[in-house]
């Protein structure tokens, strides 16, 4: 008996408190958090910014920003993009990685949450930009180009360019590199939307110089006083869009 007890006691002394005990202690001392969406989604703010932290810059200065401002965009648009990343219609591996195992219900909640946020937007200084490029950009954004069969951005994205409910995104307040990258992705076929993919068609009709003009003008246009999306648009849209279909008659 003694031969058994001594090694047993020794083993206990060496092992110290068991992992299970340590675990129980730890849990007892853990802080409690209320489990709000702001806490659950703190991971998103690291790049996209929040009320207290600005969006991450790729370098320093507003001209080095890339990550899009998602605050205040229509929930329908945000949900479509989250599911596009999850299903591989949009390609940004880190975003797919983040959302790939999240349910539809949660993605809708996430979209609702960010649609109700408000963040200051980066605005580029027009002083250093070529006047002719800015004018071409303004023209394309506000009037379009009938010869190229490119409608004006404002026709779908709203007169104030803050998007339209339920699912058309705002275009002001986005970093210029992000806008350029989206046109590149549509042209290269690596960004898709629900068919018919209207922006895919429009991007294919624009030259690189025109894309640059559009992104220069948009990224230097300040957010209007009321940054909320337009409640509705005059229908039908100039192009059929799978992500913003015409209401059924």
């Amino acid at each position: 008996m003694r031969g058994f007890i001594r090694p047993f006691l020794l083993a206990c002394a060496l092992a110290g408190p068991t992992a299970v005990q340590a675990q129980a202690q730890q849990q007892a001392q853990q802080q409690r958090v209320p489990g709000t969406l702001a806490q659950r989604l703190a991971a998103c703010a690291a790049c996209h910014g929040s009320a207290t932290t600005p969006p991450a810059a790729v370098g320093s200065g507003s001209e080095r920003q890339y990550y899009p401002r998602i605050a205040g965009k229509p929930a329908g648009y945000l949900y479509n993009q989250l599911s596009n990343f999850r299903e591989g219609r949009r390609q940004y591996p880190l975003m797919t990685w983040m959302v790939q195992h999240l349910s539809d219900d949660y993605l809708r909640e996430i979209a609702d949450y960010f649609s109700a946020q408000h963040l200051p937007a980066p605005v580029l200084d027009r002083a250093g930009m070529p006047a002719a490029e800015l004018e071409r950009g303004r023209q394309l954004v506000t009037r379009g180009d009938t010869a190229l069969k490119v409608p004006a951005c404002v026709a779908c994205h709203g007169e104030r360019l803050t998007g339209a409910l339920p699912a058309i995104p705002g275009l002001v307040g986005l970093p210029r590199d992000y806008i350029n990258a989206q046109f590149g992705a549509w042209r290269n076929g690596s960004r898709h939307a629900l068919v018919p993919d209207c922006m895919g068609s429009i991007a294919s009709r624009l030259s690189l110089a025109d894309v640059s003009a559009i992104s220069a003008w948009l990224a230097s246009e300040p957010l209007p006083a009321d940054p909320s999306p337009a409640p509705s648009l005059s229908r039908p849209l100039p192009l059929a869009c799978g992500s913003a279909p015409e209401p059924k008659p």
Binding site: C47, G88, Y106
Partner: protein, 418 residues
């Protein structure tokens, strides 16, 4: 003298041939109980659907955003790329022309209807343990799916791995067909768990170390997953809440991340409480050893100072200054504790590095529908900073794991995420 050598060589040859014949992985045929076993009845289809979940067939046989089971997902291995085929019942491009016996032969023997040997990226060394009844139910389910036309894409394997001769040699060394044999002394629950873990669950495909020829070892001692760049830890467990982790993706000890998030999201969360309990019982019966840990002296002071500063700046808000993590309002897990954290202290630091670089969310499950997220720090911290903060967390609050170098971090920046 010469004659003796000749005789010796002859004997050795005969022995070698005899050994090869003995070891030859004979295809094993077990007939269906009756054609009713794979008839398209509601019962068979429902049971097959459940088993397909347990086997996580969709994980490989479905491409992101594509039709379920229509194939096309690439499985990258150290030997090249294997393309998962279409297993919907399309006659030309799927398994629409297969019989139940053909399906059994693929699952149990790793041989396709044309007689071709299959690549073990299809985990038939595990699936061979599946009973004929379960194989027939799976077949009934797959036959009930809408047929999808999706032609097989060719594998891209480096020579000589793509050849049938190489496969035959591999099977000779590492494969023996055989249905799971229960150990009656262990009880029904343990046996059900072992059947699911070692068979359809194919847990050893990741959680067992693979040798140079890609064969999984015996046991579930943990191993580095080739190409994906994650370490699948030992499944021997002393976690009383293991079932909660497997079912919901989170437990007070931590959350599932990386490839395991997919396994819980697509497979385990859909299994019955009984089956999850059985799997946990089996895993908790495996002997736990300390082999995955390598206690080490603390890192240099300068590194700890930098790591501590970064920790305070980026991590402490959620994981706590003291590394204790946080619980939700209901007491459920929110942000995992890092003090005493098993993953963080594995001798191989890859998982801790990947979680800091890539961040992510645990899967949405019934038990944890709105998971908490971890931000990706790859855009924010450089290699030296990631190394410092990971080293700090591995050596604080009673943790004592070896430090991490910037070069180790750098190696994981380029691993494809998707």
């Amino acid at each position: 003298m010469k004659r003796r050598i000749l005789i010796a060589v002859g004997i050795l040859l005969v022995l070698a041939v005899a050994a090869a014949l003995l070891a030859w992985p004979r295809a094993e045929f077990i007939p269906a109980r009756s054609p009713q076993a794979w008839a398209p009845s509601a019962g068979n289809i429902a049971r097959g659907a459940y088993l397909a979940r347990a086997g996580d067939c969709a994980a490989c046989h479905t491409v992101r955003g594509g039709a379920a089971y229509a194939g096309g997902r690439a499985v990258d291995t150290p030997f090249g790329r294997v393309m998962a085929p279409n297993i919907t019942p399309d006659r030309e491009t799927g398994i629409g022309a297969w019989s139940a016996d053909d399906f059994w032969n693929a699952l149990h023997n790793g041989i396709s209807p044309g007689g071709r040997l299959l690549y073990p990226a299809f985990p038939y060394p595990n699936y061979t343990k599946v009973t004929r009844e379960d194989a027939d139910a799976l077949f009934a389910y797959l036959r009930s799916l809408p047929p999808q036309r999706n032609a097989r894409q060719p594998h891209a394997l480096r020579a000589p791995y793509g050849s049938q001769a190489a496969l035959a040699a591999w099977r000779l060394l590492y494969f023996k067909p055989g249905v799971f044999t229960p150990e009656p002394a262990r009880g029904a629950d343990w046996n059900r768990g072992a059947y699911l873990v070692d068979g359809l669950g194919h847990c050893s495909a990741c959680h067992s170390p693979r040798n140079g020829l890609g064969a999984s070892g015996e046991g579930l001692h943990g191993g580095l997953i080739p190409v994906l760049g994650w370490y699948a830890p030992s499944l021997a467990s002393n976690d009383p809440q293991l079932a909660q982790l497997l079912r919901s993706g989170v437990s007070p000890r931590g959350a599932v991340f990386g490839p395991m998030a997919e396994v819980v999201g697509q497979s385990l969360q859909h299994l019955s409480d009984g089956d999850i309990g059985a799997m946990s019982a089996y895993l908790r019966s495996l002997p736990v050893d300390g082999a995955e840990r390598a206690p080490a002296a603390p890192p240099p002071e300068a590194l700890m100072r930098l790591g501590g500063r970064l920790y305070g700046q980026h991590c402490a808000d959620c994981h706590g200054k003291d590394g204790r993590g946080a619980a939700g309002e209901d007491g459920g897990p929110a942000w995992p504790a890092l003090a005493g954290n098993r993953t963080l202290q594995l001798a191989n630091p890859v998982n801790a590095i990947r979680i800091v670089l890539n961040g992510g969310f645990a899967p949405s499950t019934a038990g944890n529908p709105r998971p908490y997220g971890m931000p990706p720090y790859s855009p924010v911290l450089n290699d030296a900073e990631v190394a410092a903060v990971v080293s700090y967390a591995r050596a604080s609050w009673g943790n004592a794991a070896p430090m991490v170098t910037p070069a180790e971090v750098n190696g994981y920046r380029a691993v494809p995420l998707d």
